[in-house]
């Protein structure tokens, strides 16, 4: 036990004394969260909208107010005539124009059916689509709230409800992804580099000649990174809850349990990499290339897996972070319990056991 504590405290010293390691350990996740949260987001905020209100009645004003108070839009100008529409697009002063027809309120109440014209600048088709969806959503919610008391005869309204993420926030999608990415990357990289460093410096031999059990060496090397990863995870979680208003609806215990599974899988991958190379650079490259790229592309948080060609989907199946991503999303956003994610957990668990077994085996062979 004494050996173990001596070793673990030495390992912590290595980490805390090396600025580069510290920066990577804590700088990387924070940078990722800030980047994905504020810079690389596909949600649109405060988009400029121009309004041509030919009705100027209570219904149109109420909708305009709703739009003005939403996060997505900022009313740039009120147009006076049709002629202004073209001009506002050309000047680029707004991305969307909304036209309320004359007698909007009367027609709405009288005929039960009325049209609003939404004109979008579709030079960026994705943005135009997203913006018109936002408008649809706002108008629909107005209908639900305001017109519910009116006796509406048979009328089919497409009611859009965005479950679990009513405001269509990007954070709910990427935070679990960033967690998976950071855990995979940090754990794998840190363990492989720290073991290979001992090999490179010749201290590994000294350790192997010492009476300390080689497996204890490996375990006590992994423990600090396991603890630091949990700290890291907590930092990301706190940042995303308090800074990005990320919901957390599930059980923290379950979440940390599942995260530990991923961490152990990543640690054993790191161990595996360290047994197959002797230089820190190689270990770093393998960890970065082997972990970063597939985790980014094939976990599902950047590009939907459903749209990928079958071979890529199959490859994604063997990436542990892919399963963790599903699990983390289910727990955090949907607040689901173990019953709903046991299948993914089982897959992740088997992968962890698999990686752990072969890395221990390989390590053992190397000792001979």
């Amino acid at each position: 036990m004494r050996q173990f504590f001596t070793f673990v405290s030495k390992e912590f010293r290595h980490v805390f004394r090396d600025r580069k390691t510290m920066l990577m350990l804590f700088g990387l996740p924070i940078a990722q969260i800030l980047l994905f949260g504020f810079a690389l987001t596909n949600e649109i905020k405060d988009s400029k909208i121009a309004i041509l209100d030919l009705a100027k009645d209570p219904a149109s004003r109420a909708i305009i107010e709703k739009i003005a108070s939403s996060d997505q839009f900022e009313i740039a100008s009120s147009l006076q005539s049709q002629a202004g529409i073209e001009e506002t697009f050309k000047k680029g002063s707004s991305n969307l124009v909304l036209v309320f027809p004359v007698n909007f309120n009367e027609d709405l109440l009288g005929q039960n059916s009325v049209q609003i014209q939404v004109i979008a600048d579709a030079s960026d088709p994705n943005e135009a689509n997203t913006l018109t969806n936002y408008i649809n959503f706002i108008v629909a919610s107005y209908q639900r709230e305001e017109l519910v008391t009116e006796a509406i005869p048979l009328q089919i309204i497409t009611e859009i409800r965005m479950l679990y993420n009513p405001e269509l926030k990007g954070a709910t999608n990427f935070v679990p992804g960033v967690m998976a990415l950071v855990l995979m990357l940090v754990c794998t990289l840190m363990t492989s580099v720290s073991i290979v460093r001992e090999k490179e410096n010749g201290t590994m031999e000294i350790l192997l000649v010492s009476p300390m059990n080689p497996f204890l060496v490996i375990v006590s090397k992994a423990i600090p990174y396991f603890i630091l990863s949990l700290v890291n995870l907590t930092v990301i979680l706190l940042l995303s809850i308090f800074l990005l208003d990320m919901p957390f609806n599930g059980s923290y215990f379950l979440f940390y349990f599942e995260s530990s599974l991923l961490i152990i899988a990543a640690l054993s991958l790191g161990l595996l990499i360290s047994t197959s190379t002797n230089s820190q650079q190689a270990a770093m490259l393998i960890s970065l290339m082997g972990m970063l790229v597939p985790t980014m592309l094939l976990t599902g948080f950047m590009f939907p897996l459903e749209n990928m060609p079958v071979p890529l989907q199959l490859i994604s199946d063997i990436i542990p972070s892919r399963w963790y991503y599903i699990i983390a999303k289910s727990i955090m956003i949907k607040g689901l319990g173990f019953a709903a994610i046991w299948k993914e957990t089982l897959i992740l668990f088997s992968m962890t056991v698999f990686f752990l077994t072969i890395s221990f085996k390989k390590f053992n062979i190397r000792l001979q």
Partner: protein, 247 residues
Amino acid sequence: MDKIVIKTDNLTKRFGDFIAVDTITFDVKEGEIFGFLGANGAGKTTAMRMLCGLSIPSSGEASIGGFDVYREREKIKKNIGYMSQKFSLYEDLTVAENIRFFGGIYGLDSQNLKIKSQEMIQSLGLESQKNKLVASLPLGWKQKLAFSVSIIHEPKIVFLDEPTGGVDPVTRRQFWDLIYTASERGITIFVTTHYMDEAEYCNRISMMVDGKIKAMDSPANLKSQFSAESMDEVFFELARGAQRKAD
């Protein structure tokens, strides 16, 4: 002084077709300074790794401190110290932290460790540097510290694999003073080296050529046997027939 602490009998290590160490047989007595010489690639390091339990022999017998290298590796580990070719302390830890760490993994209790580390720092004259990172020490000091750390647990035998590589002659001389002091305390020294002047410091040496031991005796006897002036000449005489290229 006549107790045998290292005993090998036809010890062999093969890597595929290549025979790195070919049926070597020798004894080392307690308290002896045994020089293990040979050109690069002659098989010195491989032989030493087998004796330390880092590598399992392909055939032959060997016992270290009375323990068998196949079956009692854990017991051997408790009774030996090892210093490798590469400088092998942690450069990003301080002198005191390194001593505490290696003492700790050899199972020294904290009381004992405190006394030991104080002694060691004092005898090496490192009082003013003890809280400095090892990386900031000159190489000679590092080597001396590494040696002291390798015998912190008072092993019966210490294995030194080219301990003085890249060190100036004055520091090398000081290093050998440390070795003599350890030897006087009854620690058996098993040392490999390239430097023939160092060979003269040993009680007995063996010369390895192409995986085999070609000669083994005291430096004085070897010189008269080969009617040579210095160990350099003895070495050239023996190594001339080598087939393997230096790596």
